[in-house]
């Protein structure tokens, strides 16, 4: 393919080479973790201490500063994983496989966190921990999909095979996600549950919205940093037989 000869491609290839990415990812991970961590702390203090009480739900609504960011980040994570899967399958970039592999535990955690925080929020709001609401149900299915990806990657021992199989599964799941979401929505309206909508027409006041937006931005930073850290680890692990990793781990000096 002619494109593979262009300087842009060559630059891209060099940029995504594991040793190079390992090096440049470090300051990014560190910076994002610092910025995200501080911003998350500020957002939480803002939301927990200074934001006013919700007149309907009382103080339990303060869970929103964990719930909404993790739910939205988990969806964003799924989208980026689908993009990575395409990159992995079409252009066969090794780095995409490594990032994809480490996105799985982070996405799994985010989805679980969104579900758990939602369930705990449900108790004071709806009176029950779990209802088969359309959102909760499709989130639960998303959790199943993440578990499936993780399971297939651990089950297949051959690295390359595991990567490709996972990428295919990610794409299949991604195509299915809107269908699942739609069907669950349809199913739910058929059941017509008597529940209070969390995201009703009530527009949020600025004092609540501002810390929420900040917590979302902060969560995205922390999540990106976590993925970068995890990718660095994945690179080390997969290239552990190479000279540069052994140099990096300080193993070659000693004999």
């Amino acid at each position: 393919m002619a494109f593979s000869m262009t300087p842009v491609w060559r630059w891209f290839h060099r940029w995504t080479s594991p040793p190079n990415f390992y090096r440049i990812a470090r300051p990014w991970a560190l910076g994002l973790m610092l910025v995200g961590g501080v911003a998350l702390l500020v957002a939480w203090i803002w939301g927990l201490v200074f934001a006013p009480e919700d007149y309907l739900q009382g103080n339990s609504y303060r869970i929103i500063f964990v719930h909404v960011p993790s739910a939205s980040a988990s969806l964003a994570m799924y989208l980026s994983m689908a993009i990575l899967a395409v990159i992995s399958l079409v252009w066969k970039i090794k780095l995409a496989d490594m990032v994809l592999r480490q996105c799985i535990p982070v996405g799994l955690t985010l989805t679980a966190l969104a579900l758990i925080s939602g369930a705990i929020w449900g108790r004071p709001t709806w009176g029950v921990y779990w209802i088969w609401d359309a959102r909760l149900t499709s989130m639960l299915v998303q959790l199943f999909l993440f578990i499936g990806m993780w399971a297939i990657h651990t089950a297949i021992e051959q690295q390359k095979l595991a990567d490709k199989a996972t990428a295919i599964l990610v794409l299949v799941g991604f195509v299915n996600l809107p269908i699942i979401k739609w069907s669950v929505d349809w199913w739910n309206t058929m059941h017509q549950p008597a529940t209070i909508r969390i995201t009703g027409e009530t527009t949020m006041v600025w004092e609540m919205l501002a810390p929420l937006l900040l917590s979302m931005a902060a969560t995205y930073c922390v999540v990106a940093a976590l993925v970068l850290y995890r990718t660095r680890w994945e690179i080390l692990y997969r290239e552990r037989k190479t000279r540069w990793v052994q140099d990096e781990l300080g193993l070659r000096g000693q004999a």
């Binding site: 199943f144 295919i168 349809w186 058929m190």
Partner: protein
């Protein structure tokens, strides 16, 4: 294509005793529900569509594992892949065959099970139609899962983990249309959605499964 179908048919026929297992399993699962929940006929009638679907889903899962197993073990998959026959065609043949031996068989069983669960007889034609469509989607999507784990030695449980989330829309639409009929509302919407799903799955899944199968053949 006809040749491929015929080959699959003959191979399955030779293993027919193995293919009975999912059907017996289906019967047993259905029998568990009244024992576990309630023997009350009125309550069972309400639960019947869901029970029939869950049992059919589980029985299909049980049989998916065999879709590529033997062909992978004896190397005939590789032969097909190198002979110039498109892998997707082989997979389509396998899907149709799997549906014929498992999905259709489960469907034909369902009126009997429906009677045991006090499902109104007037709903039987719809149940048959919906189950036939739904099990076709089960076989089709299941082929992707089976292809992904074809190279693994022990894959039954993993296969279920991968495939169950993808089966959820079928379950919802399938039970939904019978429930709608049971409640006396129009079941056209879920039924046509299910048909659309079946068309889409049949058009796409063979290619995806072929890509997945290619991975395990190459190594």
């Amino acid at each position: 294509m006809m040749f491929l179908l015929r080959r699959e048919w003959l191979l399955s026929w030779r293993r027919r005793s193995e293919l009975i297992n999912p059907l017996v399993f289906n019967l047993m699962v259905v029998a568990l529900f009244p024992l576990g929940i309630t023997p009350d006929p009125d309550e069972l009638a309400v639960l019947a569509p869901g029970i029939l679907w869950v049992a059919a889903l589980l029985a299909t899962l049980l049989s998916l594992d065999l879709m590529f197993r033997y062909d992978h073990q004896d190397g005939s998959l590789e032969q097909v892949a190198t002979s110039g026959t498109p892998l997707a065609a082989l997979i389509l043949a396998k899907i149709l065959n799997h549906w014929l031996f498992t999905g259709l068989a489960l469907t034909l069983m369902s009126p009997l099970l429906g009677l045991m669960l006090n499902l109104p007889i007037s709903l039987m034609p719809l149940t048959l139609l919906v189950l036939a469509l739904g099990t076709l989607v089960f076989s089709t999507i299941g082929a992707i899962g089976a292809a992904l784990v074809a190279g693994l030695r022990r894959s039954g449980l993993l296969l279920s983990l991968l495939v169950i989330p993808l089966y959820i829309p079928v379950l919802i639409l399938g039970t939904g249309s019978i429930n709608a009929a049971l409640a006396g509302v129009s079941f056209v919407a879920p039924l046509s959605a299910l048909a659309a799903l079946a068309c889409m799955a049949l058009a796409l899944a063979p290619w995806v499964a072929a890509a997945a199968l290619q991975l395990s053949i190459n190594d």
